[in-house]
């Protein structure tokens, strides 16, 4: 069977591209803490060859202490170089790779043996999928990791058919890059690779009989794995983030454990810690198998109790559920084995962390649903009459669903959740830097929120980013920004010193306490709640 032509792949790419790049700088409404961190570290690499902590070309970026995987930041370097330290510059790599993921997905489906129409429609499905589109529009490492993961899977399938060694080398490299890209893939990618290797063991035997063919893939593996093990065993870089988010940080679990102190042997047998941990984990894992999460509430664009959007469009309920059955019943053994593996393995990394139904950590699961969808399309194309009528109805409903998604994403989500994207800190940073010469000191709050001081931000990162603060100066000053402090201002005490600019949340600066002439500016979140108050003591 010949390959897929360039034209359909281009159509998939253009559709995916348009969904991801439309008003990319404006939505989401603000750069997140992670995004400014990525951007500024990329900027620092461009300017000095070092990260914000002064480490030369690090393999892991310390950032705010969460040791971010390096791939995303290094991919952001050329983007920031070309487009500047801007929202677009930071978000460009993820949006582009997110769009390319839809193309790779078409190729994977085709490699599995699905028909051209089913493969292309599978790619189009991913191109407009709200779960993937949402995270492609912010700089999220999970998108980059998923891209490399799928490249790895595709190359392995290509190698399986063609037995050309370059595909095996590419696969090893892509899987390794996915591990270096995001924490979830650190568990998922090696597991998937091992399972795939087992499923393709017939061809692996050919290689083992001819060891020279293994040299290139092994060398590539060693290049990527050696520093990883070094960082894992001799530094906190690899384990820091997983430890801080694991289920072992949950009080509900830890308080229930006996930790070796059992009353008697019966308790040790029937109420042991291994079972308690297993059961706790199982709750998190099974919580992902929830139709409401998949099709109605998963994205969390509105407030609890309000109409919302799931990870997939409602119109895809029947294709995905019937497709799941078709996957299990598929006569294509390899496709069936891989897809079923993906179904059960997909939520595993996310289930080992504290949060329930975490959409970004479970992004590894997305391809399974694409497999189910494509299987359903394949079945319909081959077996169902009145294909035209069904197609018209389906695509009409899909268009309505997409319009609904657009309304939620561009109107409701910013309105309800702008503060969770640190909305307002850009303005603070630009104002502070623009007026720094007028003051002896600028104090910027790090705690804010419309319901109370519930959110803690990292405002220094926004000042570094938007003021394009020189990295050398930042390091030379001991990671301080001249004349700017980051703490909650206190008007009664701080106003005693003249020539200070205080920028605080309404919980820091009571507008009733401050003389009117001292208030320079009041800003608001998108939900029209007061966000920050600018007051000066001149």
């Amino acid at each position: 069977m010949k390959g897929i032509r360039l034209c359909p792949l281009l159509i998939v790419f253009i559709l995916a591209f348009s969904f991801r790049f439309y008003k990319l700088s404006s939505y989401p409404v603000s750069l997140s803490i992670d995004e400014v961190g990525f951007g500024y570290n990329a900027y620092s690499i461009i300017k000095t060859g070092r990260d914000e902590w002064g480490m030369k070309m690090p393999l892991v970026f310390r950032a705010i202490g969460d040791y971010k995987p390096a791939i995303d930041i290094y991919l952001t370097v050329p983007s920031v170089y070309l487009f500047g330290l801007t929202e677009f510059g930071v978000r460009f790599p993820t949006a582009l790779l997110g769009a390319l993921t839809a193309v790779i997905f078409v190729m994977i489906l085709f490699e599995f043996g699905l028909s051209r129409p089913a493969s292309i429609l599978g790619g189009l499905w991913l191109a407009v999928n709200p779960w993937h589109v949402h995270f492609s529009r912010g700089n999220f490492e999970a998108i980059i990791a998923l891209f490399f993961l799928l490249v790895g899977v595709w190359s392995l399938l290509r190698w399986n058919k063609s037995m050309k060694n370059r595909y095996l080398s590419l696969s090893v490299m892509a899987f390794a890059l996915s591990v270096w890209s995001y924490n979830a893939e650190r568990l998922f990618s090696p597991l998937l690779f091992l399972i795939l290797s087992f499923l393709l063991r017939g061809n692996l035997r050919v290689i083992i009989r001819n060891p020279k063919l293994l040299i290139a893939p092994l060398v590539i593996l060693l290049i990527f794995i050696t520093p990883y093990f070094y960082l894992g065993f001799f530094t906190e870089a690899i384990r820091s983030r997983p430890l801080s988010t694991s289920i072992f940080r949950e009080a509900g679990l830890m308080d229930s454990l006996h930790r070796g102190t059992y009353v008697n042997w019966i308790e040790r047998l029937l109420d042991n810690d291994i079972y308690l941990i297993f059961r706790h984990w199982a709750g998190k894992y099974l919580n992902y198998f929830d139709l409401r999460f998949w099709f109605w509430k998963g994205m969390g664009y509105t407030q609890p109790g309000d109409p919302d959007l799931g990870l997939f469009y409602i119109v895809d309920v029947i294709p995905i559920l019937s497709g799941t059955y078709l996957v299990f019943s598929s006569k294509n053994k390899l496709f069936r084995a891989i897809a079923v593996t993906w179904l059960f393995l997909g939520p595993l990394p996310a289930s080992l962390t504290m949060n329930e139904q975490h959409t970004i950590r479970s992004l590894t699961w997305l391809p399974f649903f694409g497999f189910a969808y494509a299987s359903s399309i394949e079945f319909v194309i081959k077996n169902v009459r009145r294909l035209r009528t069904i197609s018209v109805v389906y695509f009409a409903l899909l268009a309505v669903n997409i319009a609904y998604f657009a309304n939620l994403y561009f109107v409701h989500y910013p309105k309800y959740y702008s503060e969770y994207w640190q909305y307002g800190y850009k303005e603070i940073a630009l104002y502070a830097c623009g007026h720094i010469d007028e003051y002896n000191e600028v104090i910027i709050t790090d705690t804010f929120g419309s319901l109370g001081p519930l959110n803690t931000g990292i405002p220094y990162a926004y000042v570094l980013f938007y003021c394009q603060y020189d990295p050398n100066t930042f390091l030379a000053n001991g990671r301080r920004i001249s004349k700017i402090s980051f703490r909650r201002p206190d008007w009664p005490n701080d106003s005693l010193q003249k020539n200070r600019l205080l920028i605080g949340s309404p919980w820091d600066l009571d507008i009733q306490e401050i003389p009117m002439e001292a208030i320079i500016r009041v800003t608001y979140f998108k939900n029209k709640q007061r966000s920050f108050i600018y007051a000066d003591t001149r």
Partner: protein, 211 residues
Amino acid sequence: MRITNNVRHLLLFFVLCPGFWWGIINSTNVFREIGKSPHYFQGKLGSIYSYERTERIKATKNANVDLGLPGRLVGGFFFNEFTIVVDEFFDLTSFLSPRFFFQAGDGSLMSPPRTEPIPLVLFPAWVLGIITIVRKKNFGLLKILIILVFIPYILGQKNLVFLWPVMILYIFIAREGIMNIGNIKTKNNYLHLFVVYGVFVVLRSFYLLLR
């Protein structure tokens, strides 16, 4: 003989599920709860189109007001009472949640304490069982499932009193899944695993009850 073996086999599955025992142990409470059904039904009916719910829909619709007339039209189109129907549909599906049956239970006296009603190891078998039932076109079973789950949904009671019949059906489905594993060795291994784990969770649930 074949039928007897099947029944015996099925009974073994029931016996090794803590949730099965809890329906029997708490039969007094079960009847008491069933007696409250009319009250629950009224409560559920009242909550479907409640004031709070319709106000939330209005608030969501009003989020589009700033966009002018097109925004209001879009808001009116997407955010209306039909969303309650959708919400109720997914509320119904939540009564089928595998987490409830294979991990959490309902946390009340009607559910085994801190133990899953159906042994967790049967979850993959349950998935396979659903596939098997569909493949065999045994849609009667699925229709029974829908009817059985509709009862607790319409009463608004997500507990093992009203979901006990659904649980029984889930156990049956899981058994179907195991029995239709093609590889004899895999099937036997899975059965052995289930027996060992099932004995453990049943003993555990009684231990915690008596402690």
